[in-house]
């Protein structure tokens, strides 16, 4: 039996965000925007959804009087991502 793919990660932009965060310690909102080519509004919405699911942590602070948003993946997010990749691979292997 195939396991259902995690609906939170199955959206391309959310999957892209988590894939970026899995490789780094923390990243600024502007870095994620630059690498995903998403609009600020869309990115912000998807970041909030990942945060609500407990997959990423978000710190909002001020640096030199400018607002700064720092994102990092949580242990729950790492587990969900690993399971998502495993499930994707099993689907693909079954399709061969």
């Amino acid at each position: 039996m195939f396991k259902d793919l995690d609906p939170i990660l199955h959206t391309p932009l959310r999957l892209a965000i988590v894939s970026l965060l899995i490789s780094v310690k923390e990243a600024e909102f502007t870095f994620l925007k630059e690498k995903t080519n998403a609009t600020a509004g869309n990115l912000s919405v998807q970041i909030n959804k990942l945060k609500d699911a407990g997959y990423i942590g978000v710190i909002k602070q001020f640096r030199d009087n400018y607002p700064q948003t720092l994102c990092s993946i949580t242990p729950k997010g790492i587990k969900a991502f690993e399971e998502y990749v495993r499930n994707l691979q099993s689907y693909l292997q079954a399709g061969k």
Partner: protein, 196 residues
């Protein structure tokens, strides 16, 4: 099924993008490389050849670079948009080196007094090799790996070199371990950031 493959491709491309974020621009390698290189030459030519007894004071220049280095690192931290695990490990390696270098000169000075000059430079050459080699491996950057090995070879060679000339081996080590790799890191950084 095509959709699944697209998802895997997306994951792969994002991980590659995050990993290609090369943050080492070689600036501090170049600054420290030149400062220590110049100190070595002044110490040798002014101190050893021309006999100026105060020539060793040139090493005070290193203390002058420390506030600049702190200011530069803080400025870079403010500018960085992403912090990788590689950055964290590299920082720890250099902090470890800084503390060890400081302690080494203190311990040898206290234990051996003026006799420490017979042993301090070979030990420093050995010590220079450690962070240089490690950072080369972490960054997968061969010139730094080669620089680290060069330091260790020079450390061995210094045992067979008169104490007066040992300082020239430090100057050579600066070229091999910090200056050449530093300029190569700078050009690699410029190339990579130009593609972003």
């Amino acid at each position: 099924m095509e959709d699944m493959q697209q998802r895997l491709d997306l994951i792969e491309s994002m991980i590659r993008k995050a990993r290609n974020n090369f943050s080492e621009n070689g600036h501090l390698y170049i600054v420290w490389g030149w400062v220590i290189f110049a100190c070595c030459l002044v110490q040798y030519f002014a101190g050893s050849l021309m006999g100026y007894k105060q020539a060793y004071l040139v090493w005070m220049a290193c203390w002058a670079v420390v506030p600049y280095m702190i200011w530069y690192i803080r400025r870079q931290k403010k500018r960085e948009k992403v912090r990788t695990y590689t950055d964290e490990i590299m920082n720890t390696v250099w902090v470890t080196f800084g503390i060890s270098a400081f302690l080494l000169v203190c311990v040898l000075g206290l234990a051996l007094g003026p006799d420490m000059y017979k042993i301090v430079l070979p030990l420093y050459l050995c010590l220079y090799g450690i962070p240089t080699f490690l950072c080369g491996v972490i960054l997968r950057f061969r010139p730094l790996v080669a620089g680290g090995i060069a330091c260790w070879i020079l450390s061995l060679a210094s045992v067979f070199t008169p104490v007066r000339e040992q300082v020239l081996l430090i100057a050579l080590a600066m070229i091999a371990a910090w200056l050449l790799p530093g300029y190569q890191l700078r050009s690699r950084y410029r190339k990579e950031t130009a593609h972003v």
